[in-house]
Symmetry: C2
Subunit: 201 residues, 2 copies
Amino acid sequence: MGIKERRAREKEHLRQQILSAARELFVKEGYENVSMRKIANKIEYSPTTIYLHFKDKADLLDFVCQETLLNLLNTLEQLKSEINDPVETLRKSGRAYVEFGLKYPQDYKLTFVVRPQFQKGLGLVEGTIGEKVFNCLRETVSECIRQKIFRQVDVDTTSQVMWSAVHGVTLLLIDFPDFPWVEQDTLIDAVIRTTIEGLKA
Amino acid sequence: MGIKERRAREKEHLRQQILSAARELFVKEGYENVSMRKIANKIEYSPTTIYLHFKDKADLLDFVCQETLLNLLNTLEQLKSEINDPVETLRKSGRAYVEFGLKYPQDYKLTFVVRPQFQKGLGLVEGTIGEKVFNCLRETVSECIRQKIFRQVDVDTTSQVMWSAVHGVTLLLIDFPDFPWVEQDTLIDAVIRTTIEGLKA
DNA sequence: TATTTAACTTTACAGTGTTAATATTATATC
DNA sequence: GATATAATATTAACACTGTAAAGTTAAATA
């Protein structure tokens, strides 16, 4: 019965090959500029083979993004386990979030801007990794409120405010690289500090 | 010599026809899903005629976005002229900015997300309308600092923080309509209030 | 060995942005 | 009014795109 398993392994291997070729191309050339043929060429298979593993191009994007989110989730969860002070955790998480976006700008846009455009309805909802990322942030914020460091406003509102801030600065820095920004670190710090200050009791 | 003028008028008229057809389609179906042929069909011209008026599809997008920015600029400048208290102006401007984005979500994304992707390098820089929009915000922030209501941090940093916040919440609300947001007005208010509080002296 | 099943490829279709060459028109000149 | 000239619009074509359907090949089962 080892044959079936080997076959399954081979299938999974090809699937991973497709995914990593797709990610590489999406990131390098942008989702729109990558064709199924390009991906197929890269892995030396025919274009339609991809369709045996993924429903369509958007589906492929979806799985690429899930990997990205998993990556982000790991970064944030590790951070949380390392620090005790919730405010400090939040500050560091915010920085890590923005830095993640700037380190993999194409991945970030793919996940948080392009994907929702191509998969209307399927936001960050349900038991997805995206939800876990948000929940990670939410827990930290929750702790800040519990310890009465933050104003006693709704946990969700507070978390969503925080997310808005980091999402906003990340995208602006990615999308308008030629805008006369103040020093990048200064701006990121200011955004996070301002938001945290504004949330304090 | 009235003939040349009439000709110029006719030319301008067609140009406007193209622009408004493009805007309508871009907004309704999304930039990627609109072809030059579709635009041409709508105005009952051949596809290539468009190229006599615009360099390419991205150029067309560019002019559509400029109109959007002009629209936003008018909204914000009128607001500023109506109110005296700079903090109140800033609060209202923030709200107006987000509401503008939510009222014309496709236009907003086209201008602030899609366009930069398709015209790398040409951000919001130079003497464009986009710059004027930012300057409008900047002036209000500047007044808040001058009156010592805000902390004495760099005007640019402060303005950019404000922009990050409103940009972030706008895009999140547009892109993830199915996320379990708190009540929309509550969130927008919380974002703006938090940022302003965080900036205060 | 014959047949079924899985994996993959070839072919094809209807659509894309864009260019070059061509045709049509309206104006200016004789 | 006829002809040359300029402006404007169109047709045809190219090299792509995502993807469905049919065909091919190799391996597993009977």
